[in-house]
């Protein structure tokens, strides 16, 4: 694993919204190191979600370059990007985005299924990670039957189970109350310390910002402040 997990160089993204060009990201140079627990903050429309999409390969930049774990994203095919995301990036979404028809266990093991991990290993790893996120024994539950906090914990488990190099979390606490949010963040911080997995949050929740070790502030599509605590 490289020291610098994410490197961006003058990344720009322009959207075409009903014929009007919108500059969402206007030149971002950023380096995230392995093991960091950082927050990308800024008001709505500051470009942070777009930037997150760009560095996860879900979206392609209009200009500039992105290296993930030392590999330039621009040189990967769609299929390579799919595989790269599967193996190297864990996602946590604001709306949890669990597959509602799959059980907790099936949701978590989905990526391992795509990777072709044998069944027994999948089961033991699911059980292990569920213990870690405090949902031991919830294997056979269906997501719609869980509370928001529980669902997001499942999402964390899903993001982490395949041992990616980085976890990108887009407003993970937006739908949760402050108590649940604090507990979730503490849990993630704990996991970060224990496993050394890199976390990058996109958020404007103070609970997240308070716990982040580095706070990168975006405004109008550029980095306005970069503060390491």
């Amino acid at each position: 694993m490289s020291e610098k997990i994410i490197v961006t160089e003058d990344v720009k993204k322009t959207y075409d919204e009903n014929g009007v060009p919108v500059e969402a990201v206007r030149g971002v140079d950023l380096t995230i190191k392995s093991g960091e627990f950082s927050a990308l903050v800024g008001p709505s429309g500051s470009g942070k979600t777009t930037f997150l999409n760009l560095i996860s390969g879900l979206d392609t930049p209009t200009a500039g370059k992105i290296w993930l774990d030392g590999k330039p994203l621009s040189e990967m095919s769609g299929r390579e990007l799919s595989d790269f995301r599967r193996d190297n990036i864990g996602f946590i979404f604001q709306a949890y985005n669990l597959i509602p028809v799959l059980t907790v266990e099936e949701n978590i093991e989905y990526i391992m299924l795509l990777q072709g991990v044998p069944k027994e290993e999948r089961q033991s790893r699911v059980a292990e990670i569920l213990e870690e996120v405090g949902l031991g024994g919830f294997e056979d539950r269906l997501p719609p039957k869980l509370s928001g906090g529980q669902q997001q914990r499942v999402a964390v488990a899903r993001a982490m189970v395949a041992k990616p190099s980085i976890i990108l979390a887009d407003e993970p606490t937006a739908n949760l109350d402050s108590k649940t949010s604090g507990a979730l963040l503490d849990m993630m911080h704990e996991l970060n310390r224990k496993t050394g997995m890199t976390f990058l949050f996109s958020t404007h929740d103070q609970i997240v910002i308070d716990r982040a070790e580095r706070v990168i502030t975006m405004r109008d599509g550029v980095i306005a402040r970069d503060e390491v605590r």
Partner: protein, 403 residues
């Protein structure tokens, strides 16, 4: 995993899935029944028509059908007959000799076409006796003739009348003899009724100086639905004997064409049914794909390749189709079987090729299930391709951006 996911997705919208499966079943059953009725009634129609006289299969000497001349004959037909008797599936076979002549009853004369038949074999094959509407069939007495009813009227003849027949025999001489009219026959065909005189084959051969010679053998098989298979079997057996074997289609291409045209009309109905199924399936699949755009975005964000998502949608449609087909075939066969057994009376009898039909019969064959299955599966999967491509092309960034 894919199948598990597909199953769960189907169960997720129970009402919609049930409706879709019901639509597919209905389409399938309808297709199955209509194909059943189609093959059934057409086979029945063909059967009635061919059993009347034509036979299912005919044997002639090579080239006779193209140019039927008096001299293009089969010699030693009894040997062929022995071969035919060896097949269990043959219900009957009948030899015939055709020639023209002039008949007169009292003052009236007419040009006629004469058919020399073997009464016993003809009965087994085309139930000739059953078509006699007045008088009797041939007895063992010599010089008896049976006339078509139209001819009988044209000649003002009665049963028991004397009939003089003049023919030009195969050796050029003028043959003539005196006969007694013993019966009047209705073979179900206007033209034949107006023209034909039937007489015993051996007497026909004698007056024509054509001993042992015939022009045609008509064969009736047990099941007309197996015509092609039986044709091949007989064909293989009689190969190399210089005779030609044809099905009723070749003998009466007009009737075959008429049947085919009517069959074509049935296919249009089937096409419409399949269209309804297609629209039903398309609607369901398209709705469920649109609803799950976010989910496909997540799957793709997690690293699922597009073909996997494409397959997921197709598998979902396939599963619903399979269930639809299972229920549809149960439902369709449940209706088809009794209809095949008893048939339904049509409100009006209809005339095809001069023969009246008044019952519509269904038939249960492999086709009544495979044909709709193929069409249903094909249409269901075909209309799912577009939504499946749409799902596979979901852009995760877009579908996930707005929360």
């Amino acid at each position: 995993m894919l199948i598990k996911l597909a199953f769960r997705n189907i169960l997720r919208q129970k009402r919609r899935s049930i409706l879709t499966i019901a639509t597919i079943s209905a389409g399938f059953a309808f297709g199955s029944i209509s194909i059943g009725i189609q093959t059934g009634s057409f086979n029945q129609m063909i059967d009635t028509f061919t059993r009347a006289y034509l036979g299912h299969i005919q044997i002639h000497n090579e080239g006779y059908l193209e140019e039927p001349t008096l001299y293009n004959v089969i010699r030693g037909y009894e040997i062929i007959g022995d071969e035919l008797d060896g097949f269990d599936f043959i219900e009957g076979w009948a030899p015939r000799l055709y020639f023209a002549g002039l008949v007169s009853v009292d003052e009236k004369s007419d040009a006629v076409s004469i058919v020399g038949i073997d009464p016993k074999l003809e009965n087994q094959t085309t139930h000739f006796d059953g078509k006699i509407v007045e008088g009797t069939t041939f007895s063992s007495a010599p010089n008896e003739v049976i006339l078509g009813k139209g001819l009988m009227d044209a000649l003002d003849a009665k049963i028991g009348d004397e009939l003089v027949l003049v023919v030009q025999s195969a050796d050029g001489s003028m043959g003539n003899d005196l006969y007694r009219i013993v019966g009047k026959v209705d073979v179900g065909n206007e033209a034949s009724n107006r023209m034909s005189v039937y007489m015993q084959l051996d007497e026909a051969q004698e007056i024509m100086v054509m001993n042992g010679q015939i022009h045609e053998i008509a064969i009736i098989i047990g099941k007309i639905s197996r015509l092609n298979r039986y044709y091949e079997i007989i064909s293989a057996k009689l190969q190399g004997t210089g005779i030609s074997l044809v099905t009723w289609r070749a003998v009466n291409p007009n009737f075959a064409e008429m049947v085919d045209t009517k069959k074509g009309a049935f296919f249009i109905i089937q096409f419409v049914i399949m269209l309804i199924v297609a629209v039903g399936v398309l609607n369901t699949v398209l709705m469920s794909v649109l609803e799950r755009t976010r989910e496909f975005g997540v799957l793709k964000a997690l690293g699922t390749r597009p073909p996997v998502i494409f397959r997921l949608i197709i598998v979902e449609s396939a599963i619903m189709s399979v269930f639809g087909m299972i229920f549809g075939s149960i439902f369709g066969t449940a209706i088809n079987l009794p209809m095949a057994h008893w048939g339904i009376k049509t409100p009006h009898s209809y005339d095809i090729g001069g023969i009246l039909f008044d019952t519509m019969k269904s038939e249960v064959t492999v086709q009544t299930l495979t044909m709709p299955a193929i069409i249903v599966l094909f249409t269901a999967l075909f209309v799912s391709i577009f939504p499946a491509i749409r799902a596979a092309r979901t852009v995760p960034a877009k579908s996930l951006r707005f929360h």
